[in-house]
């Protein structure tokens, strides 16, 4: 997408400043209703999920001791994959958001939780809760827009490196937990700094992350395979654990892509965000910058209720189990203020997000202006843009955008 302030029709143009503040008031009222109702049932819910997750993980790992038998390998791997997904999505992510802090239970608290992931809770809370949730979809401020390795918005400048981004995205999906860890560390940026100039904070965070990765890998790839030794299950356990981690990574990557990458989710220009952004303005940005996944209760649970990404971004600290119940009220508010409540089934959202990744791997306007007839010429242009330096790139880009505009105008005239 193009940042809303540069679009032909800004999707918020019809809202007066009073409307925006009124949206804030109405969303605050929804939030307050949940705070007032929150209680024993909610506490029982999260404790139940934690209980089920732990038993499922233990049970699956026990089954995997017999994974020399293929059916048990399948069963154990499936169970472990589900357990890891639950741990990361419905439990870890939400606990670290402080959704359950109100229970005052030190065992289920944002300040004490550590999750089954390569990234440390501390690093994740900073990059995700603080940066992403505060500066959601602001180009240049929210690094979740492409994680620093991809171009997810027309307003991020194209570079030949982006040609490979469908591949980068796929690799990132497979090893998503390490991708997140690297991302939390701002590894690319920090490694480009000479060793002696790197900050103490980075060095200490890096050490903590490496320690975490070592512990995680030791568990899945050393301790459990070793426990399977007497049952002749060392290798099957190793592959099962690798598979479960892969499944979890692919799943969480897909769900998270669906949250902000599908076509039609809005992005924002850094300089268009006022220094003293009001609560109403912040809410509005969250409303437009997120997309939901429709589906069954099981789907919501397995996505950690990030299927209710819009509700989650509006109220990141409300218990995830309450998102489904407030979703109709939130959607009604979108309708009332004529805003687009972006919701679609998982396959559609995943496809849409991937489409965006592929489309933006090419320069702006490239796909739109390419026809079978001009393909050789276009290919030549792309080659030039990829090899001949920034000056040529800028000129070619300008021409492409101009061409696209002209084609659009011609179409409109017909």
């Amino acid at each position: 997408m193009t940042v809303i302030t540069k679009q032909d029709v800004n999707p918020t143009a019809h809202l007066t400043p009073e409307d925006v503040e009124q949206i804030g008031v109405e969303l605050d009222a929804i939030r307050q209703d949940v705070l007032d109702a929150r209680g024993e049932k909610d506490a029982a819910y999260i404790r139940k999920v934690v209980d089920v997750q732990r038993k499922l993980e233990l049970g699956s790992r026990a089954v995997l001791l017999g994974s020399a038998l293929p059916p048990l390998w399948v069963l154990g791997t499936l169970g472990l994959s589900v357990a890891k997904i639950l741990e990361n999505m419905e439990i870890g992510h939400n606990v670290m958001h402080g959704q359950w802090d109100w229970m005052r239970d030190p065992k289920i608290h944002s300040t004490t939780w550590e999750w089954d992931n390569a990234s440390t809770a501390e690093g994740w809370k900073h990059s995700h809760n603080e940066v992403h949730h505060t500066y959601t979809n602001i180009v240049g401020k929210d690094n979740d827009l492409g994680y620093g390795i991809m171009r997810i918005d027309e307003d991020q400048r194209w570079h030949p490196f982006h040609l490979g981004q469908p591949l980068w995205n796929f690799i990132n999906a497979c090893f998503f937990e390490y991708g997140i860890a690297a991302y939390d560390l701002e590894l690319g940026k920090n490694l480009s700094i000479p060793k002696e100039k790197r900050s103490e904070k980075f060095k200490s965070d890096l050490a903590k992350t490496l320690r975490k990765i070592r512990q995680q890998a030791t568990k899945d790839y050393v301790v459990h395979p070793a426990l399977g030794l007497p049952f002749g299950a060392t290798l099957p356990i190793l592959t099962a654990n690798f598979t479960a981690n892969l499944v979890r990574n692919l799943w969480s990557h897909s769900v998270i892509m669906c949250g902000h990458f599908p076509e039609g989710v809005e992005t924002f220009e850094r300089k268009s965000i006022p220094e003293d952004e009001t609560r109403g303005q912040w809410y509005l940005r969250q409303m437009l910058g997120s997309a939901n996944i429709s589906g069954s209760k099981a789907m919501h649970l397995m996505t950690g209720n990030l299927s209710h990404q819009i509700e989650h971004h509006l109220f990141p600290d409300l218990p995830s189990s309450r998102y489904a119940e407030i979703a109709p009220r939130v959607e009604a508010l979108f309708d009332k203020y004529e805003l687009n409540y972006h919701e679609a089934p998982l396959p559609k959202q995943v496809l849409s997000a991937w489409h965006r990744v592929v489309r933006l791997s090419l320069p702006n306007g490239f796909l739109a202006t390419t026809t079978p007839k001009n393909l050789p010429a276009q290919a030549k242009l792309l080659w030039a843009m990829s090899t001949k330096g920034p000056k040529v790139r800028r000129a070619a880009q300008a021409r492409l955008v101009q061409l696209e505009k002209r084609q659009k105008a011609e179409k409109a005239a017909v």
Partner: protein
């Protein structure tokens, strides 16, 4: 645990070493959890967790009067025991929120290893009301080890005076049950003055009468509706040998204050147990902020986040989004009252509550102390 004294130090170390290695292996197999997190799922009352892991399971909730009940708890194996008269801090999940309160133990050490507390539902009392009316067998509560020095001396004095009012009987019934469950009844001459609003609300009334009938003690029942409020100056009439008795009292602050003055004037010793710490209430105009580690106290306005107040006072504070979203600024509120600047919701913390607050959206509504 293997006792080193029994197996000798080297044996103990070797076993301890193996245990430790096994434990490290188990922790490595369940990281980022540790073994205890996993065992909690199956056996929350096991030992070896230290005081922070102390818990209890409710075994029985037995009504005593219309608004009081005895809660019998099976504690974790780590329970270190108690002396009758002591109290225990109990963390109860009421409407999903863990709230800590203190209750006297109403038994001596029991053969079944259980603890009992007797709770009177006070008007508006969130936890007491919950324990009396809604708590059920099977529920878990958090516990701390027993505390308090409201205990009888050893050896016992020849003559004892116990003055209790209302639920003030709870530590005393623990002492009495312990004394009279022994094989030999102690020779101490005990007088118990038990004050209540009326006969129906007198907790343990029948049990105390049975002790009196068995000749264990002299019971003086005082009921406000029948006898009027107890005037402490009349105590020497009610208990003629008052001056010879070592005195213990437990009840409302008014009665205890009067008794303390009365006994002090006569040069007599008195041990008291006070229940309710003064309730913290929100003020309208902010308060103060004390940083526990440095002891610095500054004024805190009612419309300024504690985060800003602390930073202005020179403290290095954890912080993040500053709009209540990221939970990067969460710190324990050791004691005090704060108001959520977004919706005015008031949060009260007393020491040991373990209340964590977001400092970026919380303003002082009274004196506050945070762990920083």
């Amino acid at each position: 645990m293997t006792s080193p004294a029994l197996y000798g130090p080297s044996g103990g170390t070797r076993r301890g070493g193996l245990r430790q290695r096994l434990r490290r292996l188990a922790d490595a197999a369940v990281t980022p959890l540790d073994l205890d997190d996993v065992l909690d799922v199956f056996h929350p009352l096991r030992g070896g967790l230290g005081d922070t892991g102390l818990r209890g399971r409710i075994v029985e909730v037995r009504p005593e009067t219309a608004d009081s009940a005895t809660v019998v708890l099976k504690p974790s194996k780590d329970w270190a025991g108690h002396v009758p008269g002591q109290y225990v801090r109990v963390g109860v999940d009421v409407d999903g929120v863990r709230l800590w309160r203190t209750y006297s133990l109403t038994h001596g050490p029991r053969r079944d290893g259980c603890l009992s507390i007797t709770v009177k539902a006070i008007p508006g009392g969130v936890v007491s009301g919950y324990l009396v009316r809604r708590a059920r067998a099977g529920q878990m509560v958090q516990l701390a080890q027993a505390e308090g020095d409201f205990v009888l001396p050893d050896p016992l004095p020849a003559k004892l005076l116990l003055v209790t009012a209302g639920s003030g009987i709870t530590p005393v019934i623990g002492m009495l049950r312990n004394l009279f469950s022994r094989a030999t009844t102690p020779a101490t001459d005990i007088t118990l003055v038990h004050v209540n609003v009326n006969e129906d609300s007198a907790i343990f009334r029948d049990e105390l009468r049975a002790h009196a009938a068995a000749g264990h003690l002299t019971l003086v029942e005082r009921y406000d509706d029948r006898d009027g409020m107890l005037d402490v100056d009349s105590l020497s009439t009610i208990v003629p040998d008052l001056d010879e008795r070592l005195a213990y009292a437990c009840g409302p602050a008014g009665l205890l204050d009067a008794l303390e003055a009365h006994h002090a004037a006569r040069g007599l010793d008195l041990t008291t147990e006070r229940f309710r710490t003064p309730l913290l209430e929100a003020s309208g105009e902010g308060g103060s902020l004390t940083l526990a580690t440095t002891g610095v106290t500054v004024d805190a306005a009612g419309d300024t986040p504690l985060l800003d107040v602390a930073e202005a006072a020179g403290a290095l504070m954890p912080s993040g989004c500053r709009i209540g979203v990221c939970f990067g600024c969460v710190l324990p509120l050791r004691e005090g009252v704060v108001r959520d600047l977004r919706n005015g919701q008031v949060t009260v913390a007393t020491p040991g509550d373990g209340v964590a607050i977001q400092t970026c959206i919380s303003a002082a509504a009274g004196p506050c102390t945070i762990d920083r």
